[in-house]
C-alpha cells in the first residue's frame, strides 16, 4: 500500500512541482520575488478540496463526462496563464509586474487544483480503513518529499546552466509544458467524445514504456505518450509553437528584465 500510494501521489505532484520550479526560475532570472507561490499553492489546495468534494456532481454533468470537461478547462486555463505570462515577462512596468504575478499565481493554483483533487480522492477513499491510514500518510509524505526534491533539483539545475542557453532552455521548457497542457486537454475532450481522436501516430511503448520511471518523468516533463493520436499531436505542437513564439517575441524587445538577467 505504501508503495502504490507513493507512486500515485508522486505522479500527481511531479507535474505541479515542475511548473512551480520553472516559473520560480523565471522570477529569479528577472530579479522578481517568488513569494506569490505560497498563496498560489494554498488557493490551489482549497480549490482541489472543493473539486474533490463536488466530484460526484461534476461527474454527472455533460452526460457523465463533466470530469473530463472540467479537467480540460483547468488545463486550458493553465495554458492561457502561461501564454499571458510569456507575453508579460518581457515588460518591466509596475502594472505589468503585478499582472505577471497574477497570471503565474493563477497558473500554479490551477495546476495544484488539477493534480491535488486526484490525491485527495485517492486518500479520502482509503482513509476509511484504519489499517491503511499509516501507510497512506507515510506514502504521501514520502511522495511529497521526493516531488519537492525533484522540483528543487530542477530549479537549481536550471539556474546552474550558463546564462545564454539558460534563457532559451527555460522558455523552451515553458513552451513544452504548455504544449503538454493543451495535449492533455485535447485528450480529455477526445475521451468525452467532444473531439475526434484521429489516427494513432506511433507506438513507442516497447522503447520507453509509459509506466516506467523514465516514462513517468517524461510524461510529467514533456507530456510523453507512447501512442499519441493525431489530435493530441496537433494540440501539442500548436500549443508549443504559439507559446514559444509569444515568449520569443516578448523577450526580444530590447530593454527588458528577463534579458538583463538579475541573477546575483
Amino acid at each position: 500500500m505504501l508503495l502504490s500510494t507513493l507512486i500515485v501521489v508522486l505522479q500527481e505532484i511531479l507535474e505541479a512541482a515542475l511548473i512551480i520550479s520553472l516559473l520560480l526560475v523565471i522570477c529569479r532570472l528577472r530579479g522578481a520575488s517568488g513569494r506569490w507561490v505560497w498563496p498560489a499553492a494554498i488557493a490551489g489546495a482549497v480549490g482541489a478540496a472543493l473539486y474533490a468534494s463536488l466530484i460526484e456532481e461534476v461527474s454527472l454533468l455533460f452526460d457523465y463526462t463533466g470530469q473530463e470537461i472540467t479537467n480540460a478547462a483547468l488545463q486550458l486555463g493553465i495554458y492561457l496563464c502561461l501564454a499571458a505570462s510569456a507575453l508579460l515577462m518581457g515588460c518591466g512596468t509596475e502594472r505589468r509586474e503585478r499582472l505577471l504575478r497574477l497570471t503565474m499565481t493563477l497558473a500554479v493554483s490551477l495546476a495544484v487544483v488539477r493534480e491535488g483533487f486526484e490525491i485527495l480522492l485517492y486518500q479520502s477513499g482509503l482513509m476509511a480503513s484504519p489499517e491503511l491510514v499509516t501507510p497512506l500518510l507515510v506514502g504521501a509524505t514520502l511522495a511529497t518529499g521526493i516531488g519537492a526534491s525533484i522540483g528543487a533539483l530542477f530549479y537549481y539545475g536550471l539556474l546552474s546552466v550558463p546564462a545564454a542557453p539558460r534563457r532559451t532552455l527555460t522558455l523552451g521548457l515553458i513552451a513544452l509544458f504548455g504544449g503538454n497542457m493543451l495535449s492533455q486537454a485535447a485528450l480529455m475532450l477526445i475521451q468525452s467524445d467532444w473531439l475526434p481522436g484521429g489516427a494513432i501516430l506511433w507506438d513507442s511503448s516497447a522503447l520507453l514504456p509509459e509506466d516506467s520511471l523514465a516514462g513517468q518523468l517524461f510524461y510529467a516533463l514533456v507530456g510523453y505518450e507512447a501512442t499519441p493520436s493525431l489530435t493530441q499531436a496537433i494540440a501539442y505542437f500548436g500549443g508549443f509553437t504559439l507559446l514559444a513564439g509569444l515568449a520569443v517575441a516578448a523577450t526580444r524587445r530590447g530593454d527588458n528584465p528577463f534579458t538583463q538577467d538579475h541573477r546575483p
Partner: protein, 111 residues
C-alpha cells in the same frame, strides 16, 4: 442555372452531418466491485468508437487507467461514469484501477 443559397447550405449541412449521425457508439458496461472489474475481459468491435459505462459499486473511488487505450478517469465511489474509447485496431488493451492496481485488472479485446 442559379440554385438558391439556402437549400444549398442545407444540403451541405446534411452531407456533413450524415456520417456523424449514423449510429450511437456501441455501449459496454463494466462494474467495479471489491476493487475488481466485472467482467475483467471486455470484447468490443475493432475500428469503432465504443462507449464504456463504468459503474463503481464500491464506496471508495477508483481510477480507470490504461496506457494502451490512453485513458484515465476517476470513478467516484458509488457512481456511474462514461469513457469513450477507440476506434481501436484489433488487439488486446490492458486496463487497471490505479488506486487498487494489485486487484483491479482487466483488458479490452478489439476484434
Amino acid at each position: 442555372m442559379k440554385v438558391p443559397l439556402l437549400p444549398r447550405i442545407a444540403a451541405l449541412a446534411a452531407l456533413i452531418a450524415a456520417p456523424l449521425a449514423i449510429a450511437a457508439p456501441p455501449v459496454v458496461e463494466i462494474e467495479i466491485r471489491d476493487h475488481l472489474f466485472f467482467p475483467s475481459t471486455v470484447r468490443v468491435p475493432a475500428r469503432t468508437k465504443v462507449k464504456l459505462v463504468v459503474i463503481n459499486r464500491d464506496p471508495t473511488a477508483e481510477e480507470f487507467e490504461s496506457y494502451e487505450l490512453n485513458r484515465e478517469k476517476i470513478i467516484p465511489g458509488g457512481a456511474t461514469s462514461v469513457i469513450f474509447i477507440g476506434p481501436l485496431a484489433p488487439g488486446e488493451y490492458p486496463f487497471f484501477g490505479e488506486f487498487f492496481p494489485k486487484t483491479a485488472q482487466g483488458r479490452v479485446i478489439a476484434e
